[in-house]
C-alpha cells in the first residue's frame, strides 16, 4: 500500500514540474493569466485594436474564463478555457463562438480551440515574443503553424 501511495504521489508531483522556458505557461493550468493579444509581423495599431476587441468580445462570454488571442500571417488563433461545469456544453460553446466571430469579423479567418494544449502553446509563444527580443518573426510564425497543425490533429 505504501508503494502505491508513493507512486501516485510521484506521478502527481512529476506532472507539476516542467521545463517550459516561459514564466506564465506552466502556471496556466491552475491560474487565470489573461495574456495580452499577440501579433506576429505587422505592428499596425488597427490590428492591435481589432485583436483587443476580439479578446474582449470572447472574454465577455460567460462560459469562458481565460482567453489567448494570437494573430499569425493569415489566421487568428483564439484559445480559451471553459468553466468547469460548462464543459458539458463544449461543442455548443464552440459553435456559438465561431458564429459570433464570423458575424462580427467577416474579413478575418479564425481558428478557435478549447484545448488546453493549444492554450499552453499559445501562452508560451506569446511570452517568448514578449520576453525574447531575438525571437524572430519566422520562428514565431513557424511555431504558430505548428500550433495550428496540432489543433487539426485528431488521433
Amino acid at each position: 500500500m505504501k508503494k502505491i501511495i508513493f507512486f501516485c504521489f510521484f506521478i502527481v508531483t512529476m506532472s507539476g514540474c516542467s521545463h517550459h522556458d516561459s514564466k506564465n505557461s506552466p502556471m496556466s493550468l491552475i491560474r487565470e493569466i489573461h495574456p495580452t493579444p499577440a501579433i506576429i509581423g505587422s505592428k499596425e495599431s488597427d490590428d492591435i485594436d481589432m485583436l483587443n476587441k476580439v479578446k474582449k468580445d470572447v472574454e465577455d462570454m460567460e462560459e469562458l474564463f481565460d482567453v489567448a488571442v494570437i494573430k499569425g500571417e493569415k489566421e487568428i488563433l483564439v484559445a480559451y478555457k471553459v468553466k468547469h461545469l460548462q464543459r458539458f456544453h463544449m461543442v455548443k460553446i464552440e459553435e456559438k463562438l465561431n458564429k459570433m466571430l464570423e458575424e462580427d469579423y467577416p474579413d478575418e479567418d479564425f481558428i478557435v480551440s478549447s484545448d488546453f494544449k493549444i492554450f499552453l502553446e499559445a501562452v508560451e509563444l506569446h511570452d517568448k515574443m514578449e520576453e525574447d527580443k531575438d525571437y524572430s518573426e519566422e520562428k514565431a510564425q513557424k511555431k504558430f503553424d505548428k500550433i495550428i497543425k496540432l489543433k487539426k490533429e485528431m488521433t
Binding site: 502505491i4 502527481v12 506532472s15 506552466p26 488546453f116 496540432l150 490533429e153
Partner: protein, 157 residues
C-alpha cells in the same frame, strides 16, 4: 415442472434458517469503496494525461490513447507484483471496471497458466477473460458507429 412453485416444507424451513445465519452483503460499503478507489485511478489517469500534454506534443484530444496504454501497463506491473490483487480485494468493481482491470485480467490469467508452457499455457489462456472484453468492446463500438453514421446521414446530429 415449475421451478418456483414446488418447494417441500423442509426446503422452506431450510431457507428460513439460511436467511437467519447469512451475513448481509454490505452493498453500500462496497459501492463507496469502489467509488473512491475508482476515482483515485481516475485522478492518476488525469495526472498522466496532463503529463503527456505538458511534456509531449499531445492535445487533450490525442492524449487519451497514450494515457490508456500507460494505465494498462501500470496495472499489469502491479498485478505481477501482487499489489493489484489486494486493491481488487478492497475495492471490488472499483478496480475491475476501469481500463486497468483489463491489464489485470490479461496478466493474472497468464500467471495462472504459466506452468502449462508458453504456447498452450500463457499464449492460449492470456485472453481467457480479456478476450470477451475485446470482442464485446469491438462489437459495441461497431454498433455505436453504425448508429452514429445513420443518424448523421439522416441529419439528426
Amino acid at each position: 415442472m415449475g421451478k418456483k412453485a414446488q418447494k417441500t416444507p423442509e426446503q422452506k424451513s431450510y431457507q428460513q434458517l439460511e436467511q437467519q445465519h447469512e451475513t448481509k452483503r454490505p452493498v453500500l460499503k462496497n459501492c463507496l469503496r469502489a467509488f473512491w478507489v475508482g476515482g483515485l485511478f481516475c485522478i492518476v489517469g488525469q495526472a498522466i494525461s496532463l503529463f503527456y500534454i505538458y511534456f509531449f506534443n499531445f492535445t487533450e484530444q490525442t492524449s487519451g490513447n497514450p494515457t490508456v496504454a500507460t494505465m494498462v501497463f501500470i496495472a499489469m506491473l502491479l498485478t505481477g507484483f501482487g499489489v493489484y490483487d489486494r486493491i481488487g480485494q478492497y475495492a471490488g468493481a472499483g478496480s475491475a471496471v476501469p481500463v486497468t482491470g483489463f491489464g489485470n485480467a490479461v496478466i493474472s490469467a497468464s500467471i495462472e497458466h504459466r506452468t502449462e508452457g508458453f504456447v498452450l499455457g500463457v499464449g492460449g489462456n492470456m485472453f481467457k477473460l480479456a478476450g470477451s472484453v475485446l470482442l464485446f468492446g469491438v462489437f459495441s463500438a461497431f454498433v455505436i458507429a453504425l448508429i452514429k453514421t445513420i443518424l448523421i446521414r439522416w441529419g439528426v446530429i
